[in-house]
């Protein structure tokens, strides 16, 4: 990987991520919703025991199928949704059941870019007021300085400063998404949770926003959690990646390790589905491995490993025992090489009883 040999001058970025300052830590977060009619309620287990750490200057990518709990996790991290269980620590302070003062801490330091650019913007407020809102709420900067900052932020996301006085409904989908991004950046947060932050943007504007996030990170050391369904975008920007399946983390580790040699059967299936941007591969989307079985449902999720009804490696153990996240046991360096594992910097955990077998089979096929 060529980027590792490039000289890195910034002291923050010359330290390995895990030795950098721990900014946000989630332990065993859980959230279950009750839905359906009152007579016949349904329980939806949206997030079930997710732990993760975010360090200064790190980008953690979160990928997984629609409905697997990504937004619910994100909302818990920024304090918008209360977890049913587990804990959340921000700069060493427990903010799980945040009292007022702690929540203010979260509000200035942790910002979120929402998946839905329409409903997250107040239709009655001008765009200038929307972007200035975090500054006004925390009483940072004078009104004049705020206006100036708003103009600067609009420019950063590729919108003309004179759009400040307009209202959300007068903007296109991608423009609204960028308004949300500008608002999230207003206070120079140290954690930025991006929930599908670039999905409504065309490739060129998308590239512009991704470059902006990268630059911001280099300059300010922001920790970014980047949720996206676009696997190539995540690969491009994330240092580490967590793959979610039905409310749990299936696999987590360095981006190149996970993409290069996925060890969880679900990650393998997910990656095999990446569409190609070449016309020659047309139709591949339909031909590739489509996971068999019912679409996964967080209503009455399967026991044991939640992936078992769709997994081609499932055994009895998988149907009864939930696999914990663990490192892969590799006997020797030769075995590691056979499995296509990279010798150095190998850091990844997998929640699968048969990860070694999955890895070996993939190595044989590939």
């Amino acid at each position: 990987m060529p980027s590792s040999v490039e000289p890195v001058l910034d002291p923050l970025f010359s330290t390995p991520i895990t030795e950098r300052k721990l900014v946000l830590e989630a332990r065993d977060l859980r959230r279950t919703f009750t839905s359906g009619s009152r007579l016949n309620p349904t329980r939806v287990s949206a997030v079930d025991g997710v732990s993760l750490q975010l360090h200064a200057g790190e980008t953690l990518g979160i990928v997984g199928e629609s409905g697997c709990g990504k937004s619910t996790l994100a909302r818990m991290l920024v304090g918008l949704e209360r977890p049913d269980g587990g804990s959340l620590t921000y700069h060493g302070t427990d903010v799980t059941r945040a009292r007022r003062s702690d929540r203010r801490l979260l509000r200035t330091g942790v910002q979120m870019i929402f998946q839905d650019p329409y409903t997250s913007l107040d239709p009655r407020m001008s765009v200038g007021d929307i972007i200035a809102e975090p500054m006004a709420a925390t009483r940072s900067a004078s009104p004049a300085a705020r206006r100036e900052r708003v103009a600067e932020l609009l420019g950063l996301v590729g919108l003309a400063p004179d759009m400040m006085s307009r209202y959300p409904h007068q903007f296109s989908g991608g423009q609204r998404q960028r308004i949300g991004i500008a608002r999230a950046l207003a206070l120079d947060p140290d954690v930025l949770v991006c929930d599908e932050a670039v999905s409504a943007l065309d490739v060129s504007v998308q590239a512009q926003v991704i470059n902006l996030l990268g630059e911001l990170q280099r300059r300010l050391g922001v920790a970014i959690m980047f949720i996206a369904h676009d696997l190539s975008v995540v690969r491009h920007i994330a240092d580490n990646v967590a793959v979610m399946y039905l409310g749990r983390i299936a696999e987590q580790g360095g981006t190149e390790t996970v993409y290069g040699s996925p060890a969880h059967p679900y990650t393998q299936a997910l990656l095999s589905a990446t569409p190609s941007h070449s016309r020659a591969d047309r139709g591949k989307l339909a031909r590739r491995r489509i996971l068999s079985g019912e679409p996964p449902s967080p209503v009455n999720p399967p026991t044991g490993c939640r992936f078992n009804p769709r997994c081609w490696l499932a055994t009895d153990e998988c149907r009864t025992t939930q696999p914990p996240l663990r490192e892969i046991a590799v006997a020797s360096p030769t075995v590691a090489a056979d499995l296509g594992l990279r010798p150095v910097g190998e850091s990844r955990v997998v929640a699968c009883h048969h990860a070694e077998k999955a890895l070996q089979e993939a190595a044989l096929v590939g």
């Binding site: 296109s172 989908g173 491009h236 190149e256």
Partner: protein
């Protein structure tokens, strides 16, 4: 007037638009967001409408559907869906036409759904109003449709409200509602932006089979080139309210004849360049209130020459079945071919 009567001939286009302009008149000065575009979608054809954020794609879609407010002026020489002259219809007829014969998947999934009505009732209502179904039949149809768009455990989720679904699920619920009555013309505005590849493939397959089985014409608005490559028969590229290139999808993607299309194709992120800055098109898209004179793309175009700053290039045929609006299309095409 029975709206079905006018479709006597079999081979009428699913959509035919000529010289469509949309102007916003609110807020003092007029803003022309769409400027004289032509669009055709044949029966059973999948046409993609591509373009930068803010180029006028959604405004075009809403204008065709007649979903505009009092501050919006729509002018068109011709606007026909399955042969029916939309402009001649009254508001009631147009409403019946929507859903029944033409439908739109709106870009904003949540705001398009009624927050205080269960999903089952919202979908079911379509069947009750347009098909006279009983409550029970309507509910069964709703469950079936939800399953079709890949909502897990549909029978258990049918009584949930919109906010109880994830972003991608809401998008699929909108798709379910748009195809419920099997319209002849479907406009889908970014229908798969919130969807992961597996679900996306499922939705595209579903649209593809509706096209094949019912001869539905589909106009797919998207910025996702992967999707375009996957399904489009033809495509049109918009820039600053105008169509700047159009033609057969394979041809245009292989050899774009407009510098904007070319730049768009170059900014796709690819594996292997991790951490590096991505290619972007310099500058930002012009606001419709102040488009530059000459070619709208000229301040950002690496091929711009003097004439580009004064004379607007018309959309003209550059080869069989394809057109481009650029003074230097010929050069661009030949440079790429050689």
């Amino acid at each position: 007037m029975d709206i079905r009567e006018t479709t006597a001939v079999d081979e009428v286009a699913a959509l035919r638009v000529r010289d469509l302009s949309v102007t916003f008149t609110g807020g003092g000065r007029e803003v022309r967001a769409v400027r004289g575009i032509d669009l055709d979608v044949a029966k059973g054809e999948f046409v993609a409408l591509l373009g930068e954020s803010g180029s006028g794609k959604s405004v075009t879609a809403r204008a065709i559907m007649g979903l505009t407010d009092e501050f919006t002026r729509v002018d068109a020489a011709e606007l026909r869906v399955s042969g029916v002259d939309i402009q001649a219809l009254g508001e009631n007829e147009r409403r019946m036409m929507r859903g029944e014969r033409m439908s739109l998947v709106l870009q904003d999934a949540l705001s398009a759904l009624n927050p205080v009505m269960t999903i089952g009732n919202q979908i079911g209502e379509l069947f009750r109003v347009h098909r006279g179904s009983t409550r029970k039949q309507a509910r069964a149809s709703a469950v079936e449709l939800l399953g079709l768009v890949g909502i897990p455990a549909p029978a258990k989720r049918v009584d949930d409200y919109p906010h109880q679904f994830s972003g991608g699920m809401r998008q699929r619920i909108l798709i379910a509602m748009a195809i419920a009555l099997e319209p002849e013309m479907l406009i889908a505005d970014e229908p798969t932006t919130a969807l992961d590849v597996t679900v996306q493939a499922q939705i595209l397959d579903l649209l593809g089979s509706l096209r094949d089985q019912l001869g539905m014409g589909i106009l797919l608005i998207t910025h996702d080139l992967g999707v375009v490559m996957e399904v489009a028969d033809r495509l049109a590229v918009m820039y600053a309210g105008r169509i700047v290139e159009r033609g057969d999808a394979d041809t245009v993607l292989d050899h774009p004849a407009h510098p904007y299309t070319e730049a768009l194709l170059r900014s796709v992120p690819e594996a292997g360049i991790r951490g590096r800055d991505l290619m972007t098109i310099p500058g930002s898209p012009p606001s419709p209130a102040q488009t530059p004179p000459g070619c709208s793309f000229n301040p950002r175009c690496h091929m711009a020459i003097d004439i580009c700053r004064t004379v607007r290039p018309p959309l003209v045929d550059v080869a069989d079945g394809r057109a481009s609006a650029c003074h230097r299309s010929e050069e661009l095409l030949h440079a790429l071919v050689s």
